[in-house]
Every structure is written in structure tokens, then in C-alpha cells.
């Protein structure tokens, strides 16, 4: 017969939780940090929005004839924004899920 163990028995006991390794001056940083990556992504989304705005202004005032250029830029910006927004929502949900977890 199979024995059912509570989840709190071994692996989730607070004593065995591994502490994150403190960053020391000796350990070389490998690539940009998570925070920096998030910031880069947000800046990229912002740039796309600005590019789309600029194209929309030019098409609306007749400086550029091609409507499709502004359309594509707008959809590109909108898609990137929504993707970023959903990643943010998921991250926030994950954080809240962890906060609700009973230890």
C-alpha cells in the first residue's frame, strides 16, 4: 500500500529552504540582471509606441502617403504592449499566489 505523506514533511520545511546566494564582488555578473531585462523590455515597448505615434502623425497630416506603414507600426506597438502587459499580469499573479501560500 502506498503511504501518503503531507507536503510539509521534508522538502518544504523551512529549515531546508535554500537561501539565495548573496552576490559577492568576486562572482562576475553574467549578463544583465532580471530588473535590467524588464527595464529594457519596457523601453523597447515605449520606443515602438513612439515610432507608431510619429508615423500616425505623419500619415494623418499627409507627410507620408502610405497608410499601411502607420497601420503596421500601430499593430506592432499594440501587440508588444499587450504581450508585455500579460507578462506583467502573470508575474503579479505569481507573486500574489506565493503571498497566499501557507507555510
Amino acid at each position: 500500500m502506498m503511504r501518503i505523506e503531507g507536503v510539509s514533511s521534508s522538502i518544504y520545511s523551512p529549515q531546508t529552504v535554500q537561501r539565495p546566494v548573496e552576490p559577492t564582488s568576486e562572482s562576475p555578473a553574467t549578463g544583465p540582471s532580471f530588473g535590467e531585462q524588464v527595464q529594457q523590455a519596457v523601453e523597447q515597448i515605449n520606443d515602438l509606441q513612439n515610432q507608431a505615434s510619429s508615423l500616425v502623425e505623419k500619415v494623418a497630416t499627409g507627410q507620408i502617403e502610405d497608410v499601411h506603414k502607420a497601420m503596421i507600426a500601430m499593430e506592432h506597438a499594440s501587440l508588444s504592449f499587450n504581450f508585455g502587459l500579460q507578462v506583467r499580469n502573470k508575474a503579479l499573479d505569481a507573486y500574489q499566489e506565493i503571498m497566499r501560500t501557507q507555510i
Binding site: S53, V56, E57, A60, T61, G62, V67, A70, Q86, N89
Partner: protein
């Protein structure tokens, strides 16, 4: 105080819609009066002023938006076009081309504005709306 709706781009789009709507009237007048002796054709020219403001250096957003909102989109008489013997200066072909161009501009601009508003609404609802 920053207006969530009336940013630079939206102010321009609103002004272009005003101007294009006005121009639609002018073109309709011209087509209706294509055979009226002595009629002077009407036109609306606002893009030049708008582009000047957009390209002016060192104009900060609040002042820039105010300047964009102050651009006049009025129907004006066109005295420059050559007149026929009956004193009318409407060329019907030219009006038809203007009409097609103006309709496209209005529709495209309206769609841009609608999409930007949708984007704002989406951001306010955090994509869950």
C-alpha cells in the same frame, strides 16, 4: 496636469478630423456649384500650419498642444485657380480627386484615433477588460 486623452498625437488627429470634415463640406459645395456662373471654389488648408507647429523646435508639450488646438480649419475662398468664361473656377475632375483623397484621410485618421483610444482603454483595464 497631463490629459490622458489629449496628448500630442491625439491632438493632431482630432485637428485633422476637424479639418477633413470641414473640407468635405467645401468639396460638396464645389461639386454642387460646378455650373454656377461666378462661383469661387472653396478650400480648407490647415496641414501646412499643423506641420509647421509639429516641426518647430523647443516647443514644449503643453504649449505645443495648445498651438495645435488653435489651428484654424475654416473654409476659405480659392481665388488663385483660373476662372472659366462664366467666372466659375471649379474643375470637377479635380474636386472628385480631392473628394477621394479627403475621404481616405478622414477614414484613416478616424481609425488611428479609435485604435489609440482602444489602447488606452486596454491599459486602464490592465488587459483584462
Amino acid at each position: 496636469m497631463t490629459d490622458i486623452f489629449l496628448n500630442r498625437t491625439n491632438a493632431i488627429l482630432v485637428k485633422v478630423l476637424d479639418g477633413a470634415a470641414e473640407r468635405q463640406q467645401a468639396i460638396a459645395n464645389n461639386i454642387a456649384n460646378a455650373e454656377t456662373p461666378g462661383y469661387t471654389r472653396k478650400d480648407v488648408a490647415f496641414e501646412g500650419t499643423l506641420i509647421d507647429i509639429m516641426q518647430r523646435d523647443g516647443l514644449q508639450p503643453p504649449a505645443e498642444i495648445a498651438a495645435i488646438r488653435d489651428v484654424v480649419t475654416e473654409i476659405q475662398d480659392d481665388f488663385a485657380s483660373p476662372r472659366r468664361a462664366d467666372g466659375n473656377n471649379v474643375q470637377i475632375e479635380r474636386e472628385m480627386v480631392s473628394l477621394a483623397k479627403n475621404t481616405l484621410q478622414y477614414e484613416a485618421t478616424a481609425q488611428f484615433l479609435a485604435e489609440r483610444i482602444q489602447g488606452l482603454r486596454n491599459a486602464i483595464k490592465e488587459g483584462r477588460g
